[in-house]
Amino acid sequence: MSEHIVSAYSEELERLSAEIMKMGGIVETMIADASQALSANDLELAKEVVTRDPLVDAIEADVERQIVSIIARRQPMGHDLRMILSAMKISSELERIGDLSKNIAKRSQRLDENVNAEMRNAIIRMSQPVARQLRDVLNAYAGASSDKALAVWGSDDDIDNHYNSVFREMLTYLIEDPRRITAGAHMLFMAKNLERIGDHCTNIAEFVYYQVVGDYLSELERPKQNQV
């Protein structure tokens, strides 16, 4: 897209976009490190993940202030308007992803000695496609690619399937040994959080698509298989 005649306007939009990418980068590390902390039972790392959440919240608030200011001063139209509205929505989706990742890190600090390696692995296995989904949707945003957004939007089923299998697997561990129930409950919430992160990635994909194409993906029917 060519430059605005008022160059400060282009700079404001670029700054906004950069803030979203920065926010995306932080929440990406939060998911990765939360699952690393879980995998290695690294309580320090888990604690550290929790401290990143206020940073994400602060960027979200800043993004909102910038957007209010741009709307008031520039009266955006066309692609600019769609870009700004998408940034507003995407930042709140990323903020939610940050919250959910923080929650995973918090719960990983509460696990007791009754947790076995299989239970940890189940969650870590599930975190991989979720992290991939987030990376792909952030790439779609960075490259303003409707095709990549569409691909993310269509592949949420993979995560839903993972969630279903983790849910069933976890139940078998709990049935085997009721002492695992406390930790198991935490881990079921972790799985649920990861599943929710996948949904937020799908939402982000919709906003990227709207920004680029101008049509609403959400009006199309996305196949749903999750029976849990």
Binding site: M1, S2, E3, H4, I5, Y9, M77, G78, H79, G214
Partner: protein
Amino acid sequence: MDTTQGGPVMVDDSLTLPQASDAGPRIDCRNIKVFYGEAQAIHDVSISFPDRAVTSLIGPSGCGKSTFLRCLNRMNDTIENCRVEGEILMDGENINDADIDPVLLRSRVGMVFQKPNPFPKSIYDNIAYGPRIHGLANGREDLDAIVEKSLRRAGLWDEVKDRLMAPGTSLSGGQQQRLCIARAIAVQPEVILMDEPCSALDPIATARIEELIDDLRSRYCIVIVTHSMQQAARVSQRTAFFHLGHIVELGETNQIFTNPREKRTEDYITGRYG
């Protein structure tokens, strides 16, 4: 997506709008070309204007939007060496036909200009002038009624009813512009053309005119030329983007300003280099 300049003109005549759905096109323009001597200002423009809807014409200076607007009531007749080709149909009649009286045509197609231009007469006479010369009033009472009704429709009555004999030029800019709109309404037009009606007004007077346009929409076919895209977005249901004498894009106002199909439209409305 971008059509090359001078290439095929995209005109979506199939567009149906809720505001205009109960009425067909009030004016139907086909293949309009306008020349100033050898220079061609309008290239083969086809567009129709629905009744009871506001259509705005936007585009950079010199794109031909005002020239085109002036075709609709044959104002270009008054410019020497200006030639208009193509058909402009109102009720199936070509308004450029030799047997059409341009004075009568202009009572059916009223016009409001950028700068308010009241006659140097009283407020009352500014309104009464048209109905008098067109013989629309039977006697004084009838004329009084037309004056009151026109001023009411233009949202000016309450402000001027106690000083109808004061000169029209004694009013504020915004009031003068509403007086000119009342004057246009007084001769019972079917179409109202507005050429930058708010560009000389402050934001409050502008808001009053926009409120008035919204009001008048229920009775008339309105075509407005404006440099303010925000104004086009606020007052119109359809927007046509002109560039270099072509219509680049015509569509529902909402679509034009949120998701234009043509790159040149996008560049213009977002303030980019074309």
